[in-house]
Symmetry: C2
Subunit: 156 residues, 2 copies
Amino acid sequence: MVAGPLPAPSGPGKDRLRLWIRLLRASRTIEAELRERLKKEFDTTLPRFDVMAALYRVPEGMLMSDLSRFLLVSNGNVTGIVDRLVSEGLVARARRNGDRRTSMVRLTEEGTKSFATIAAAHEGWIGELLGKVSEEDARRLTGMLTSFRSNWEGRE
Amino acid sequence: MVAGPLPAPSGPGKDRLRLWIRLLRASRTIEAELRERLKKEFDTTLPRFDVMAALYRVPEGMLMSDLSRFLLVSNGNVTGIVDRLVSEGLVARARRNGDRRTSMVRLTEEGTKSFATIAAAHEGWIGELLGKVSEEDARRLTGMLTSFRSNWEGRE
DNA sequence: ACATAAAACTTTAAGCTTGAAATATTTTGC
DNA sequence: GCAAAATATTTCAAGCTTAAAGTTTTATGT
């Protein structure tokens, strides 16, 4: 997936393949750096950060299924991450009266404070790592990726 | 990492944060689709595909450490993936005369044939998944991501 | 009412991933 | 020549990830 074009392939469709390779390499490079900093500075992981970021936006909490849909990961995956966050006291599950299959997952007070601290550092890191991208290019790129995504989402 | 801006954050640096979120969502969406197709149509995985793609470019083979550097993953990770590919007969390890610590890893004949088939399908999928991105936009985006990356690589 | 389907979630097995420790080999500095 | 450092790789423990199978609860059709 990360294969680089050494003989520099050409032909129809090669531009999109090259784009995909760059996209993947860029996101992996940044992801690796973020993972390392989260570990070193806050002793946490990217998946935990993702879950907490999702919950931070919604103080009343989210269902497990909403969480997994939002994060683009499987149900079972979220179960494990939330289990660990619960055992650390950062997240709480609340049984609901209406539907006993579901439970609302939300940040605890401690989780909220913890996330706010980490998120501030995180935003600084992104600013640093993407520092060479001008604000204008950032907006243009974002626009392209957004339209790509909404096109894509029309499928399935 | 995938957190979406619901209240639409604004302020200095927010454009880069938004860019990062889009970038990550785009690559995760495409990655998930590729993973599913690789599994369903060829009964293989993305990491196996990555390793084979890296080796395909270099018939004489690569060292384990070159492989892990190229793929942006850890050493121990590559060991496991290569182990499985070897046990399936797609990849071979060859002890070197010069340095007995290292071994050259290369695709077997079967591995080469197998990869060629999968890669053709893969390129088609990318063309399909990125079909809405015009060739010109693809080149522009690629250029931006490339310059980002070369800037980035100057660090560490 | 009641069987059946659907929905929400958890569990499981297999594989991926990392960072750190361990092993083996080669290189370097006296 | 030889101890110490450096290099290449593997092993290990913990956690992440998925798809598939299992559990519990709710909704649906008759």
